[in-house]
């Protein structure tokens, strides 16, 4: 595949209260990389701030933009340096690698990371990951041909996944922001979700 899709809901809540309905959890880092970060929002904001600063520093020093795998490696060490006072953030980096193929890196709070084809993170992750395993990884399906998925199919799948999450997870809802990253840049779309 030569594209990556990453989406997040836009609800920010604490306990049973909703703080805002308009806070996407995805952040554009470069034209070909998007960070998705969920968990404790205070740490998310700080991490994003520091990450953007480090990206700028890299550009100033090396006169080129950081590639997705470089950002992933840097984020890993940044997270590990807070090993004894962790960032309570579950990260996802989605972007195009040097060859233009889509890649997704997922992180644990202290920096362990690996590349997967697809990943769900957040309060409803346990519900959504198996759905992605089945639809994108084609797990537990017998005699299925591997067909490469088109952009429209993937975006629809992401929409369906969030609709399912909003049905059964109280912390998910309000709206979904979906980024599609291709070599021509990143397009962003917004879809409404259940507001209850």
């Amino acid at each position: 595949e030569d594209f990556v899709v990453v989406g997040s809901d836009t609800r920010l809540s604490q306990g049973f209260s909703i703080f805002t309905r308009d806070l996407p959890k995805t952040y554009k880092l470069t034209t070909s990389t998007v960070l998705g970060a969920c968990g404790f929002h205070g740490d998310v904001l700080t991490l994003t701030k520091v990450l953007n600063a480090r990206l700028k520093m890299f550009e100033h020093e090396h006169h080129k933009k950081m590639t997705t795998s470089e950002i992933a490696a840097m984020l890993s060490t940044m997270l590990y340096h807070r090993r004894f006072f962790p960032y309570y953030v579950y990260n996802l980096i989605a972007g195009l690698d040097e060859e233009g193929k889509g890649v997704v890196y997922s992180f644990d709070p202290v920096g362990s990371y690996g590349s997967d084809g697809y990943r769900a993170r957040g309060s409803a992750a346990a519900m959504l990951q198996p759905l992605l395993d089945n639809q994108i990884g084609l797990k537990n399906q017998q005699n299925v041909q591997r067909v490469s998925l088109s952009k429209e199919k993937v975006v629809n799948l992401v929409k369906d996944v969030f609709i399912s999450a909003a049905e059964r997870d109280i912390y998910t809802g309000d709206a979904v922001v979906v980024h599609v990253i291709t070599k021509d840049g990143t397009t962003t779309e917004r879809f409404p979700l259940r507001r209850d």
Binding site: M78, H81, F84, F85, P86, D108, G114, D116
Partner: protein, 275 residues
């Protein structure tokens, strides 16, 4: 810093006053891999061992689940060292990934395995890779397995008690032949012919011990390693995914195979039925 010394600026005093005023210097956030390779950000005034217990105590509200759990094994035999690992990462009760690389390629003739905390193993073995390279440049010869494992053990001993969780096997081939050392975050460092580390190690030991001989052939050794991991993944909930197998030879390590335990299950079942 050199400039500060030339100006006669006493930076020690400055640092102390910052710390007491704000509870942390203003560049704390950027004090990471770029600028300080030996300092970790720690909450000021709080003992890291105590504060980290909050994150690992099952009864606590703020428990963070780190990726954990595994089966890894390695054994020496006449043709080198076989290293076999599973590929499952769990965070609490949830399987985070079935495709984790638990063998870390430190350099073309040294391998390290990952068991315990994934981030801890990955990070410190990367630091070890850097130290090994520095040794090579300074001494114009490859580092021995004993020295490499000692480097790692000493680094990790500094953090003893702070909650690092790492059980790794350093495998290589040096002047003394095949080398296999077990190093863990409690400060243990031991050498032997067979090791298995992780939550599934008990199952792997059973199969490994019953089939092991020093004079195995390469194919028999590879099969033994694969079978031991399979049996561990079958009975241990925290192990699974695929079996990654490496063979450490005199010329360096070679990646042998990656087999899904799902396929191995039916393969071994068919073999049993044939008998």
């Amino acid at each position: 810093m050199a400039l500060a010394d030339v100006c006669g600026l006493k930076t020690n005093q400055l640092k102390n006053s910052f710390l007491s005023d704000f509870g942390g210097s203003s560049t704390h956030l950027l004090d990471d891999a770029l600028t300080s390779t030996t300092n970790f950000t720690v909450p000021y005034g709080i003992d890291p061992v105590e504060s980290l217990k909050e994150f690992t105590n099952p009864k606590s509200d703020v428990k963070i689940h780190f990726d954990h759990g595994t089966t890894t094994l390695a054994f020496k035999f006449q043709h080198g060292v076989i290293v076999a690992v599973d590929s499952r990462a769990t965070a609490g009760p949830s399987i985070e990934s079935q495709t984790v690389k638990k063998v870390i390629e430190i350099n073309p003739y040294l391998l390290g395995t990952m068991a315990g905390g994934a981030a801890d193993c990955a990070y410190w073995e990367r630091v070890l890779a850097r130290q090994c390279r520095i040794y090579e440049l300074r001494n114009k010869e490859r580092i021995s397995v004993a020295a490499a494992s000692k480097l790692l053990a000493n680094i990790v001993y500094n953090y003893k008690g702070m909650g690092l969780s790492m059980g790794t096997m350093i495998c290589g081939w040096d002047k003394r032949g095949p080398g296999l050392y077990y190093v863990d975050s409690d400060g243990e460092r031991m050498s032997n012919n067979i090791y298995s580390v992780g939550s599934g190690s008990v199952y792997a030991y059973g199969v490994l011990d019953s089939g092991y001989r020093y004079d195995l052939s390469v194919e028999e050794a590879i099969d033994l390693g694969r079978r031991s991991i399979y049996h561990a993944t079958h009975r241990d909930a925290y192990s699974g995914g695929v079996v990654n197998l490496y063979h450490m030879k005199e010329s360096g390590w070679e990646f042998i195979s990656q087999t899904d335990v799902f396929d191995l299950h039916y393969q071994y079942k068919a073999e049993k039925e044939k008998k």
